[in-house]
Amino acid sequence: MRLLLEKRSEHSQLMTVISPLIAVALTLVTGGFMFLAMGLNPFEALYVYFLEPLKFFWTFAAEDFWPLEQLAVKAAPLVLIGAGLAVAYSANVWNIGAEGQLTAGAILGAVVPVYFTDWQSPLTLIAMLALGAIGGMLWAAIPAFLKNRFGASEILTSLMLVYVSQLLLDWLVRGPWRDPAGHNFPQTVAFADWQVLPVFGESSLHLGVLLAVIAAAALAFMMARTLKGFEIKTLGVSPRAGRFAGFSRAGSVWFCLLLSGGLAGLAGIAEVMNTVGQLQPKISPGYGFTAIIVAFLGRLNPLGTLIAGLALAISYLGGEAAQVSLGVSDKSARVFQGILLFYVLACDTMILYRPKFVMDRPALAEKPT
């Protein structure tokens, strides 16, 4: 039996919507087998991993609301970065170094608490956020420049810069930026009250969550309703057609990298301002890489990344929960994320092609002409 792919005459709208759902379902089934192989009850493990964080929806108990807040807080950086990457990938600009841009944003944003520790003004937060975004943009400008000027692959340069930024951060927190009163721990001074993002009411939901929603909505509007969005999509689908329309390929490389880099930088500074509270050698559990999965699971649509970001945030929370109550390593979360991306990409084939199983190649002689 062989698998044949038959090109559809147009994109299947139905498959665009249900292919990520099929992918999630297949990931859960695969995960069940994985837990079984680890000697766990797969149903119990999957419940702890993926449903426990959502318990509020059927218990409505106040104490179950907290995981939902955590979910939103974890999803915020994923959505911020993922929405930007979705735009970049639509234009065939492969920025895979968002983790590095996140780190660069966190570093530049932390200049305020490190050097202007006592500067207390309504502008403090704005300055930190702006510096964070600029840090990410500067870091992303390097691959953009090298791509346009020398034709160097942005895939490899942006990724190499991830390692460079992490080593830079490591040097800063162990060297010049180390908190002198920090008992030699590799960390900067803890950010003061006026250097962290405001939270909504009594919750742990901070301004970064709102920023993520705004960014996703704004980018969705840009892609669907503006000339810039049309330009990006055209250059992505058909660079030749884009050139004839007068769209600049170099311009879109700059735009996409600066946009996705800036958002990653923003996510980075927001993350250290609230979740971490200071600079440390490790400030992110790989949000920049997970956001790649968010972009694809969200159909390269900024609004889709909102849902996809929440879905992947569950894997982080579930990983922590599974470690506590099942003794499963939280590293399993990254395995789930990798498997999920595989299934998403495999299922996406059905958008463009109709899979057909044929028993065998018919002999040429028997074929009616």
Binding site: I96, L156, M160, G175, K331, R334, G338, L341, F342
Partner: protein
């Protein structure tokens, strides 16, 4: 002088995994497939090789396990990109994320365990020649294997019919298909060859280079190998030269570090990544060279018409 000898020996062991991974990826790209999952396949190769060697006590079984693990992951990649014509860039990234995640999970119980080391060969007489002996005749088996693979790939790609078919598939899959060559089987074979080499490269890290398991011990070497293919403009011996140049840069960084010149270690550690960027810029800036050797169908999907 013996210090210099030690440095040269370490350079060779640092270059070998880069060469193994890069030469495999070169064949994959020559067949028109871009597999960005080298890093993930190396990580899986490293952890499986380490585990198998630990369980059996034999580094050679570890090497076989590393190769099998890399090949298995690459088969998954081939199924998605060749059969299901998924996006090669995205699928390669998925492979890297999965490989790194899975290796961390598998290797959790290996952390801190002393590994099984792949010993260097010792040929009585020859290996004892001062200086030249240890360099030429006293390496471990895989150092020679990497060079032998390079020679074989150089010969097969450019001096045999098989190589002509592989390059035809990579340069113009429609023409190759029209001539009756199986584009899909050729690509499957090349991808699996690349995965085997990447697994072997990973196994080399955990069995010979530093015989232990540390999470993320590949430290971007898979990505550097990808850059090396571009740097060597898809020519086997240039890739080998590039791998040894990179190994030299990495080790000189360490050597300077031990001298304690007051340069922060993080700067020296970031040297290989910065050098990779510079190398990419230099070679990509030379448009004539890259255009002449880049496989024309690199990264493009192929669906046979019937």
């Amino acid at each position: 002088m013996s210090e210099l000898l030690a440095i040269v020996l370490t350079i060779i062991t640092a270059s070998t995994p880069l060469l193994l991974a890069a030469i495999g990826e070169l064949v994959v790209e020559r067949s028109g497939v871009l597999n960005l999952g080298v890093e993930g396949m190396m990580a899986i190769g490293a952890v499986c090789g380490f585990g198998a060697a630990l369980a059996s006590g034999s580094p050679y079984l570890g090497i076989l396990a590393a190769m099998a693990a890399g090949a298995a992951l690459s088969l998954l990649f081939a199924f998605l990109t060749v059969t299901l014509v998924s996006n090669q860039v995205a699928t390669g990234l998925a492979l890297t994320l999965l490989g790194l995640g899975l290796s961390g999970l598998i290797g959790e119980s290996f952390v801190g365990q002393p590994g099984v080391k792949l010993e260097r060969l010792h040929i009585p007489g020859l290996s004892d020649i001062p200086y030249l002996g240890p360099i030429l005749f006293g390496q471990d088996l895989l150092v020679y294997a990497a060079l032998a693979i390079t020679a074989a790939v150089a010969y097969l790609l450019f001096r045999s019919k098989l190589g002509l078919v592989i390059r035809a598939v990579g340069d113009s899959h429609q023409s190759a298909h029209a001539l009756g060559y199986g584009v899909i089987p050729v690509r499957y074979a090349c991808v699996v060859f690349g995965g085997t080499c990447a697994g072997l490269a990973g196994g080399y890290l955990s069995l010979a280079y530093t015989p232990q398991w540390i999470e993320n011990m590949t430290a971007g070497r898979g990505w550097i190998a990808l850059a090396l293919v571009v740097f060597g403009s898809w020519l086997p011996w240039r890739v080998a030269l590039g791998a040894y140049l990179f190994g030299t840069v990495m080790i000189l960084g360490f050597a300077v570090q031990t001298k304690g010149l007051g340069i922060p270690p993080q700067f020296l550690s970031s040297l290989p990544y910065l050098v990779t960027i510079v190398a990419l810029v230099v070679i990509s800036g030379n448009r004539a060279l890259t255009r002449a050797n880049t496989p024309a169908c690199l990264g493009q999907p192929f669906v046979p018409d019937r």
